[in-house]
């Protein structure tokens, strides 16, 4: 049996603002994880990663992050990236969520 593929989202930091962004299924970048395209097929995820990585003038540090099938972070690092720091109400928690 092949191993199960953990769903992914394509994520990066925006070039100018430096904040966390995610790729949507319409090829836009969103600041809200809820709007990200959840990739459930490994081959498709790799293609989306390559496509996103080519957008050098928009983003920095593109990678695939694990999410649950409903698009929630599986690791605390991604949870902080989604929300912002815990010591001040700054970042995404103030701007997006």
């Amino acid at each position: 049996m092949s191993r199960t593929f953990t769903p992914k989202v394509v994520t990066a930091n925006a070039l100018i603002e430096g904040d966390v962004i995610y790729l949507t299924d319409s090829d836009h970048w969103t600041r809200n994880l809820a709007e990200a395209e959840v990739l459930t097929d490994e081959a498709h995820a790799q293609i989306r990663l390559i496509e996103a990585s080519a957008r050098l003038a928009e983003v920095v540090g593109v990678y695939l992050a694990d999410v649950t099938p409903t698009g929630q972070p599986t690791h605390f690092r991604e949870e902080f990236r989604r929300k912002g720091p815990s010591n001040y109400p700054h970042g995404k928690q103030a701007e997006v969520l």
Binding site: E17, F76, P85, N87
Partner: protein, 555 residues
């Protein structure tokens, strides 16, 4: 204080113009991130978890009111209205936009500040004793030498692509407040036969492989300093490991080759380099020294201080905890705590920065310092002015009386900001401070240094904390490992790991058990946590930390 020469001002302006053009080329797509990254790092610009971060040097931790005011302005205009002071006497802005950074750097240049060499594989911002020029125990002010090293190392053509970063710290006092033994090079100013010189310590460092520095030269005459430093860095530049970044720092080079082998190589290189230094550097040092001449200390009655000390218990508690001995009669060194219980260690709002600038200008000969313990210092204050200073600090959330106590915690930004972090640091510091404030125990506990790092790189100096806390990722959860018995002073020691880590919910109760054990074990109030630990060793503290394991062993 040092004032930029025309050369300095021109140099910084030219660098800023270059970086502005580099940012423009990145934004228009001419530069890729791989090409741009080393350029931005050379100018202190990181990309962190949620945003860019600009790290600005505060050379040897010294700044004046106008500079502090400029930092406040920058934080409001281009950031979120606060700044974070770091363990390397820098300030970090956590939320700048890439497009604004060139303007921020120009604003810094207006007040003779920059972000050059606060990152990258170069010689970093030179740090010094934050009580320099004021401390009662000082042999000489280390800052002229630190400034000379800054000038020598800035854009030094041989040292722009080192195997890794390189950090220098200088102290002019026997009581080491600059953590010199945990630096790539630590310099301790000493005198021999009436001649000024240095004890040179090499190969210290924290991080993944903590090492206490070793003495490579017990007395180096002052005039030999730059050629000798150049020899050390030059030997390491050739020998240092570029194949493995975890083995690239000079501490590993010294460890692998042995201090005697390194010393022989350095002396040979020094013999080659020494003739090239014809004394111009010493002429420059003399000029720099005049910039650091002590301010005119006032001779007047300290009576207002004594009256407030008797009448006001809040003032008295603050004075007992936050003042340090000054070399001039009836003067004191004021330490301003950026560790209000529950606040983020090292953070100051723009308003607080302006208050500190005002106080320095009005009462402190226009001088401020940033300590590696993430506090601010007004180094030269006449005691009669202390009640007014305290009242102003108190009114702006800066009057916390906890310097050197359990809530005066060093904490790195951790995973709340840092892209390298494996766990958060700030909330742990906030919870410990809040908990011990609730218990009203911290003045009874006395001198106790807790230092927290959110990853193995040890920016929070956890190895040299009396209690060190290291945040790790264990199977997808934050886990905190405790080390005990570390010491950051002239008797520097790397702490010992106490045992398995604790989850985020268990770490504060664990610290509480540890401190309770100390209170039970100490001979009396005069025996500090570190002294008790040194007398008894790890065992009783381990029992306090892991009571279940002790019960299991007994069963």
């Amino acid at each position: 204080m040092y004032r930029y020469t025309d050369f300095d001002a021109e140099f910084v302006a030219t660098r800023n113009a270059q970086f502005r053009a580099q940012v423009a080329r990145r934004l228009d797509g001419s530069l890729t991130e791989d090409e741009f990254k080393p350029l931005r790092l050379m100018n202190g610009l990181y990309l962190q978890l949620h945003a860019y971060m600009l790290r600005v040097a505060i050379p040897y931790g010294t700044l004046n009111g106008a500079q502090m005011r400029a930092l406040a302005m920058i934080s409001e205009r281009w950031d979120k209205g606060y700044g974070h002071f770091t363990t390397r006497q820098n300030i970090q802005f956590n939320w700048p936009s890439l497009a604004d950074v060139p303007d921020m750097l120009d604003a810094l240049a207006q007040v003779q500040m920059h972000a050059i060499q606060t990152s990258g594989n170069t010689i970093r911002n030179v740090t010094a004793d934050h009580f320099a020029g004021a401390a009662a125990d000082e042999i000489a002010d280390p800052r002229p030498v630190a400034e000379l090293i800054r000038q020598w190392s800035t854009d030094h053509p041989e040292f722009q692509f080192l195997p890794r970063k390189f950090k220098v710290a200088v102290t002019g006092a026997p009581n080491d407040r600059a953590v010199t033994k945990a630096h790539d090079i630590g310099l301790r100013m000493v005198e021999r036969h009436g001649q000024p010189g240095f004890e040179v310590i090499v190969g210290g460092g924290l991080g993944r492989t903590p090492m206490i520095g070793k003495v490579i030269r017990d007395f180096l005459p002052q005039a030999d300093l730059l050629p000798y430093l150049e020899a050390v860095v030059s030997v390491w530049n050739l020998l240092g490991r570029r194949d493995n970044k975890y083995k690239s720092r000079i501490k590993i080079t010294v460890h692998e080759h042995g201090i005697d082998d390194i010393r022989a190589r350095v002396e040979a290189r020094f013999a080659e380099l020494r003739p090239a230094f014809t004394g111009v550097d010493q002429q420059m040092l003399r000029a720099i020294e005049t910039d650091f001449a002590p301010p005119p200390f006032r001779a007047s009655s300290p009576a207002p201080f004594e009256a407030a000390y008797v009448d006001d218990p809040v003032f008295r508690a603050w004075a007992d905890t936050n003042l340090a001995g000054h070399r001039a009669q009836d003067h004191a060194i004021v330490q301003i705590s950026l560790k209000a219980h529950g606040a983020t260690p090292g953070d100051a709002t723009a308003e607080q920065m302006r208050v500190m600038a005002d106080l320095a200008e009005r009462y402190g000969h226009d001088e401020l310092r940033i300590s590696h313990e993430q506090n601010v210092v007004i180094p030269h204050v006449h005691k009669s002015d202390l009640p007014a200073i305290h009242a102003m600090l108190k009114a702006h959330g800066l009057g916390t009386a906890n310097i050197g106590l359990i809530s005066d915690i060093i904490a790195c930004p951790g995973m709340d900001y840092c892209a390298l972090a494996t766990a958060r640091s700030i909330p742990i510091a906030q919870e410990i401070a809040t908990r011990f404030d609730d218990l009203k125990l911290e003045h009874d506990i006395g001198d106790l240094k807790i230092k927290i790092s959110g990853c193995i790189n040890a920016c929070g100096h956890h190895h040299v904390g009396h209690i060190g806390i290291l945040g790790l990722d264990r199977a997808g959860a934050e886990s905190y490992q405790i080390t005990l018995g570390g010491d950051h002073t002239e008797t520097a020691t790397v702490g010992t790991r106490a045992g398995p880590g604790f989850g985020a919910d268990d770490i504060v109760p664990a610290i509480e058990r540890l401190v309770q054990a100390y209170l039970d074990l100490r001979t009396d109030r005069s025996e500090t946590f570190l002294q008790t630990y040194r007398r008894l060793g790890l065992a009783p503290f381990k029992t306090a930390l892991y009571p279940d394991q002790v019960r299991a062993d007994a069963a």
